[in-house]
């Protein structure tokens, strides 16, 4: 009875278990408890939420191992953490800490502007961001076991997440409508491996779980993303940059489960206090747009 760890099925399967759930950014054990109590399926441990990274500037890196371990000790749900794009040593450190998922994230400052991490080389699974189908398939080809649409993190503006979900969904639908002999050119155009392109064309979906992220700040935002076909949502700054984090967190969890029931979303949206202030993505100068990192 050989027990095999780190298989594709175990890595992708972990993401399947998160479906229909909300993964919340937290910066300390106290916030992690609030997230767990609100019904989060996992927490993302990081030093600064994207809104603060944006406000404070500078190089954003992997979090302090001490902080990650305090969060691991505080909650029983899975704990994820972010590594810089291409920073495989940060990823090794996170793996050694026993984090349950690594987000190779454009929210941190990239360590490599050409290559991403070879994620097959790890036992811990990875989630990566994507703005379109080609990018998603390139990440899966490198071993990502879960994809999230990028959106524009730290803005509270859901428009980019919407755009990325429409783009990924639209490109999948287009592939499904092609003749088999047209898939070679489609793979070339998507800059993605032919085998993955063919798989998506046949199944009509990504081969891994697709979450959405970036700019989600309200229960209705979360429900909007679910109705666009997301398997679940990441909420970063939206919760702990709002007036009443515990209540907003629970409300977003409810709206994610009952995304197709406007009455539940209405109830969940009542009396939540102030949402995060937010920035319109259109007002952000191009060098400050995080979604454009990654290739």
């Amino acid at each position: 009875m050989a027990e095999v760890t780190g298989t594709g099925r175990v890595k992708r399967g972990m993401a399947e278990m998160l479906k229909g759930g909300v993964i919340m950014d937290v910066v300390n054990a106290e916030q992690a408890k609030i997230a767990e109590d609100a019904g989060a399926v996992a927490v993302m441990a990081l030093e600064r939420v994207p809104a603060d990274i944006r406000a404070q500037g500078g190089v954003a890196r992997m979090s302090d191992p001490d902080m990650i371990q305090k969060i691991q000790a505080a909650v029983s749900i899975p704990v994820m953490a972010k590594a810089r794009i291409g920073h495989f040593v940060e990823a090794r450190v996170l793996e050694s800490l026993g984090v349950d998922y690594i987000d190779e994230s454009e929210v941190l400052t990239p360590a490599d502007y050409e290559n991403h991490i070879d994620k097959f080389d790890f036992t811990v699974p990875f989630v990566c961001g994507a703005t379109n189908l080609g990018e998603a398939l390139r990440r899966i080809n490198e071993g990502a076991a879960m994809i999230r649409s990028k959106g524009e993190a730290g803005t509270g503006d859901v428009s980019n997440a919407m755009q990325h979900m429409r783009k990924i969904g639209g490109e999948i639908r287009r592939l499904s409508s092609l003749r088999e002999d047209e898939l070679y050119v489609a793979a070339k155009e998507l800059q993605a491996p032919y085998d993955l392109v063919k798989e998506v064309a046949q199944t009509g979906k990504l081969p891994v779980v697709l979450f959405t992220a970036g700019g989600i700040a309200t229960p209705a935002d979360a429900a909007l993303m679910m109705s666009m076909g997301a398997d679940g949502v990441f909420i970063g700054s939206g919760i702990f940059k709002s007036g009443n984090p515990a209540q907003r967190a629970a409300a977003c969890v409810k709206a994610t489960t009952f995304w197709d029931d406007p009455k539940v979303i209405a109830d969940a949206s009542r009396g939540l206090g102030e949402a995060m202030v937010g920035i319109n993505v259109a007002d952000l100068p191009a060098p400050h747009r995080l979604a454009e990192r990654g290739w």
């Binding site: 009875m1 050989a2 027990e3 095999v4 760890t5 780190g6 298989t7 099925r9 175990v10 399967g13 972990m14 399947e16 278990m17 998160l18 479906k19 229909g20 759930g21 767990e36 019904g39 989060a40 399926v41 996992a42 909650v75 029983s76 749900i77 899975p78 793996e95 026993g98 984090v99 349950d100 998922y101 036992t123 811990v124 699974p125 629970a250 969890v253 409810k254 489960t257 009952f258």
Partner: protein, 198 residues
């Protein structure tokens, strides 16, 4: 037979596919009326704390508990096993279960995600063939009551157990495309239990 898959969170779709492959009518259930209309219930893999909490928030916790207690056939995988346990070890403070199986279950007993694994194991359904079992941050059973039968173990920790009306596995048969466990639930747990009621 109409089987409901509790659809608050988790890998609902995979269980529905496996059940349909076994020839039963399978539907996602979240609301009171939906739960009342089913003959048998499946609790999927997912996050046990989230599923328990959502069942309370949406007012179906008591109904689920009552239906399971009154003998509605039920199968739970991973988080589902935790939610069927009479006692949860390493639980979140105040974490509730629906009960239904006289077992003590330890959450994340096999470790964190880096320890998640797959393995070929024996399953006591009369077949000699091994079954591919996928364990993801999986629980194991530490104590079983008199009425509970152990169907599979790893290193002497029970990972599949049953009573007259309930089945639970630490692993995820819904992820492998092998429908043997679901068929076992339908043919050897649910059908006999439902026929007895008739």
């Amino acid at each position: 037979m109409k089987v409901g898959v509790l659809a608050l969170q988790g890998d609902v779709r995979e269980h529905i596919s496996s059940l349909i492959a076994c020839g039963v009518d399978a539907v996602p259930v979240r609301r009171e009326s939906e739960i009342q209309s089913i003959d048998a219930l499946v609790i999927p893999g997912g996050e046990s704390t989230t599923i328990a909490q959502l069942s309370e928030v949406f007012g179906i916790y008591d109904l689920l508990r009552e239906r399971i207690a009154s003998g509605t056939p039920v199968y739970g995988s991973c988080a589902g096993m935790i939610l069927l346990a009479a006692e949860i070890l390493d639980a979140k403070v105040g974490q509730k279960s629906f009960g239904g199986l006289d077992i003590s279950v330890r959450r994340n007993a096999f470790g964190r995600q880096v320890d998640s694994f797959e393995s070929d194991i024996e399953f006591a359904d009369g077949s000699q063939e091994l079954i591919r079992a996928v364990f993801i941050r999986a629980p194991w059973v530490e104590k079983v009551g008199n009425e509970v039968q152990v169907l599979a173990s790893i290193n002497s920790h029970p990972v599949a157990v049953r009573s007259h009306t309930a089945l639970a596995t630490s692993f995820h048969p819904e992820l492998t495309g092998d429908h043997r466990i679901h068929r076992y639930f339908i043919e050897h747990v649910a059908r006999p239990a439902l026929e007895k009621v008739k």
